[in-house]
């Protein structure tokens, strides 16, 4: 049975265990494995998405474990805390030892210890060779080393050290991690980081941030006004620069106006203001409403993004959710090389009304132009669920930007209705009659591409009457207003983190590249001869030291040879 331990003894053992190397290895590996979870599971998404993805059971399990905001859970933080305790214990126990070892250099080596050195070389010289001369040769060969001599029992010991302060590397590196963790803790405790969306021309002083699964708010001591937001493009069409012109308003006074771009934030009163995102800030849009009741009526609606516009007569309401001046989409078939094309401006709205299912529509301003430059008519993207993945393209057939086509469609429908039987001939006759109605009887005055127009009208006849909607709202004009998405952050712990980082890099350099090398020259006169030993020791970089040791003894061999003769 093991000996019973008293409580303080137990604490002491525990304290030592906490600072042990094996625990450090285990902690590092466990932390690594735990960190993987948060990279595989997307963090801080909407709760509804998680629920949909995992189902109620696993959602509940993951949520209870805090896996949706894993790096801020009590168990992850406590692991970091445990790492700090372990580091403190390790430093606490080892620093005094290391400091002492660095300060005092024990010179004499026992004969037994001498034999155990990994690097050892011996000479046997005749008696009468001057000890001083040998030692002087040793000193001459080791430039930049520190020496300490001692004599004991007739033996002469000379110890040389290089990189004596190597242990400071260990101390710095381990302390650095403590400092970084403390800096991180201060930052999370006394700092903030949140987002702010400021429409062009408006000002804002509140930031939002995620707090676990909730959104928190914080009021800044100043207002930020967005004067303008601009996007610059490369000649290839890719965005080059997002630039916001901001004015800081402190206590009603405009104190600072400046541009910010990504990678170049603004600094005011300890708060950094970053360009983070952008979006629509309530653009003015004009919609033309093509009524589908057979009258061919067109009315106009002027409204703004994020507003709801209601048609009093029919009770149809349009909620505008977004406007995009560019819509770059992949036009290639699945599996083919991608072919990106800008489809032009589009507005996104939800249409609700009596007798219809609500529907989300992305309506493009321009008709779709095929790869050969052929006009394929106006089109929409329609989603019945509102989910982005559910959008399906809906070609309307006719080009609504051309008012004649809308008229032609209605004339055609009228003449088709008048025909007794639906045959190909009657359709042709109906189309001709419709053309006469719209463009007159003089065929020379008909548009040149009227055949393509006929194809489009036929397509429209197939599509439009089957739509369950009272009207087709199409985008005709816009004046764009952006909002700029800013991130505001203050981190009082940041400089502490940089201090820790500097200590870390500095410490690692000392640790790896300035190893502590020790050499002893031991001279023992015995039986009328001089026994000379060169012993070496290093705490790192054995390969280099082996070479170095070899160098030193070859050189000393020469020197001793000269001294002897």
């Amino acid at each position: 049975m093991p000996r019973m331990q008293t409580f303080p003894d137990l604490l002491k053992t525990l304290w030592q265990r906490v600072g042990s190397m094996s625990l450090a290895i285990i902690l590092l590996v466990v932390l690594s494995i735990a960190s993987v979870i948060g990279t595989v599971l997307l963090q801080n998404q909407a709760q509804a998405d998680y629920l949909q993805q995992f189902g109620p059971l696993w959602y509940w399990v993951f949520r209870s474990l805090g896996l949706f905001d894993m790096y801020h859970t009590w168990w992850f933080i406590s692991m970091l805390g445990f790492l700090m305790v372990s580091l403190t214990s390790c430093l606490w126990r080892n620093i005094p030892k290391m400091l002492k070892e660095m300060r005092t250099r024990k010179v004499p080596v026992s004969d037994k210890a001498l034999k155990r050195f990994q690097h050892l070389h011996e000479w046997h010289l005749p008696a009468g060779v001057g000890v001083e001369a040998l030692q002087e040769a040793f000193r001459q060969r080791l430039d930049g080393w520190e020496f300490k001599a001692s004599e004991q029992g007739g033996n002469h010991y000379l110890r040389a050290d290089k990189g004596r302060w190597n242990k400071w590397g260990y101390i710095l590196v381990h302390a650095a991690i403590l400092v970084i963790l403390v800096g991180g803790w201060i930052g999370s405790e006394y700092g903030f980081r949140g987002n702010m969306a400021v429409p062009e021309g408006a000002s804002e002083n509140e930031i939002d941030f995620l707090q676990g699964t909730e959104t928190g708010h914080l009021t800044m001591p100043f207002y930020v006004r967005c004067n303008s937001f601009t996007i610059d493009f490369f000649p290839t069409g890719a965005p080059k620069e997002f630039r916001s012109n901001l004015t800081i308003i402190d206590h009603g006074k405009e104190v600072l106006t400046s541009d910010i771009i990504v990678n170049e934030p603004l600094y005011y009163k300890g708060v950094r203001i970053y360009q983070a995102s952008f979006g629509d800030g309530g653009s003015d849009v004009t919609l033309k409403l093509y009524h589908l009741d057979g009258t061919g009526a067109i009315t106009t609606a002027k409204t703004q993004v994020y507003e709801t516009w209601t048609d009093k007569k029919s009770g149809v309401s349009l909620t505008l959710t977004d406007f995009k001046p560019y819509n770059v989409e992949n036009m290639a078939d699945p599996g083919q090389p991608k072919d990106f094309k800008d489809l032009g401006p589009a507005v996104i709205y939800e249409m609700r009304g009596p007798g219809m299912n609500p529907v989300k529509i992305k309506a493009f301003m321009n008709p779709f132009i095929g790869p050969d430059g052929d006009n394929r008519g106006s089109f929409l993207m329609v989603s019945s669920t509102g989910d982005k993945a559910d959008y399906k393209a809906l070609s309307l057939g006719i080009d609504l930007t051309n008012p004649n086509e809308w008229r032609l469609f209605h004339a055609f429908m009228k003449h088709l209705g008048e025909a007794h039987k639906r045959t190909q001939d009657s359709a042709r006759a109906a189309f001709q009659a419709a053309m006469y109605d719209v463009f007159g009887r003089d065929k020379a005055k008909w548009p040149k591409n009227f055949q393509a127009m006929a194809m489009r009208t036929l397509q429209a006849v197939r599509v439009l009457p089957s739509l369950q909607w009272p009207m087709l709202p199409m985008l005709v004009d816009y004046k764009q207003h952006y909002y700029t998405g800013l991130q505001l952050a203050q981190d009082p712990g940041m400089n502490i983190v940089w201090l820790g980082s500097a200590m870390l890099v500095f410490g690692l350099c000392i640790m790896f590249y300035m190893p502590h090398r020790k050499l002893w020259l031991v001279i023992r006169p015995a039986q009328g001869r001089m026994h000379i030993s060169l012993a070496g020791m290093v705490n790192r970089n054995h390969l280099v030291f082996t070479k170095y040791f070899h160098d030193v003894f070859t050189k000393l061999d020469q020197d001793f040879g000269e001294i002897k003769s």
């Binding site: 590996v29 993987v36 990279t39 290839t236 990678n263 940041m494 980082s501 890099v505």
Partner: protein, 413 residues
Amino acid sequence: MTATTAEDGFTATLYRGRWVFLRFAAYLGAMAGIAAMAKFGVGAYEENAFLYQILSMKGLIWGGTGALAGCGLAIVGSVMKPTLPDAKMARNFAPWLDGFLLMVILASVWALFEPAADQISYENQSNLFSGRVIMAMNVIFIFSAVSYIAYLFAPESFIGRIATWSAYAGIYLGGSALLLRWHESYLFDMEIGHAPVSNLYEVFILLCCITAAVYLALEKRYQAKAMGAFVMTLVSAAVFFDVWLASVGQGDIKPLVPALQSYWMKIHVPMNFVGYGSFAVACGAGMAYLFRHRLEAKGGTSKMLKIFPSLDQLDQLAYKAVAIGFPAFTLATILGAAWAAEAWGGYWSWDPKETWALIVWMIYGAYLHARVSHGWHGKALAWWAVAGFLVTVFCFLGVNMYLSGLHSYGRLS
């Protein structure tokens, strides 16, 4: 394994004493001068003209002044402390900087072979000369790997020399091709121009070159030629991946997204790849260790064992590579944090890439602890070096391919 000290003639003078010290000081001064130009010069740092800022009269004046100042300081320093020119740092670093200078010269020569201005188009980049230089690099690296493997089976010194020299050639081709690509990016449009460390294709070339360079540095110092078969096989794998990337159209020069338009990119990315490359070499040493261990276990007395470094030496070499990679990787991660603090509003966001960098860091940190503590022996650590590199591969490749986050611009599209 003995020291390579016997060199003679011109190169020896070039790499001895005060000459190497003076040169090293001049390089450092020139770099400080360029950095000062980016920070304080008139017009300061411009993302889309930086290469020509360096190569213009302005760069020459700033860099040249820096180099002269460096030399001056070096002379003053060596007068005050006569042993200063013997400092190992100058001797260790100067050859790398010499090599870099040679790459710049090579790239300038390649630039003469560029197609005429009216034949350069952004849409079809296949006629650019860098593509050919990169293809040559690919072939040479694979040839080098084959030679190193041949050397294992037929340890003739001339095969070994061919392997080493072709690895050197590959590095110079790859490095100069990257520099040339930097120049080419300006040929489409000055606005598009940017340093060639912005997508997977480019950084893989960088990775091949750095891995080979770290390996050759170890080979030169410790005659560990047998390890080359393993390291250069890893490099060849990277080469094949790069060829595949080019074949799916990922090799083109594309304009830089706003998030990457920063001088931090030029420091952070290469520094990271010094880390990754060193870890690859450590992995090669680990594989060599396991290979030799198996040979010995079979009781083999084959010829191969004679040219292999001993188990202890291989263990030390793996450690040596980690000792280069770990501080570099630490510094790179810190630089990344500094960039994040400047661009995203926080030095640490638990973004997948950041987290994986931390995981890699902790794994090699644990490796270093395991070495010091007693319970661990060579074989376990060799496995650790190999496994650590697999994690590293996931960190720089897998994260971009499979996980989303702030580094997703490195994604395959």
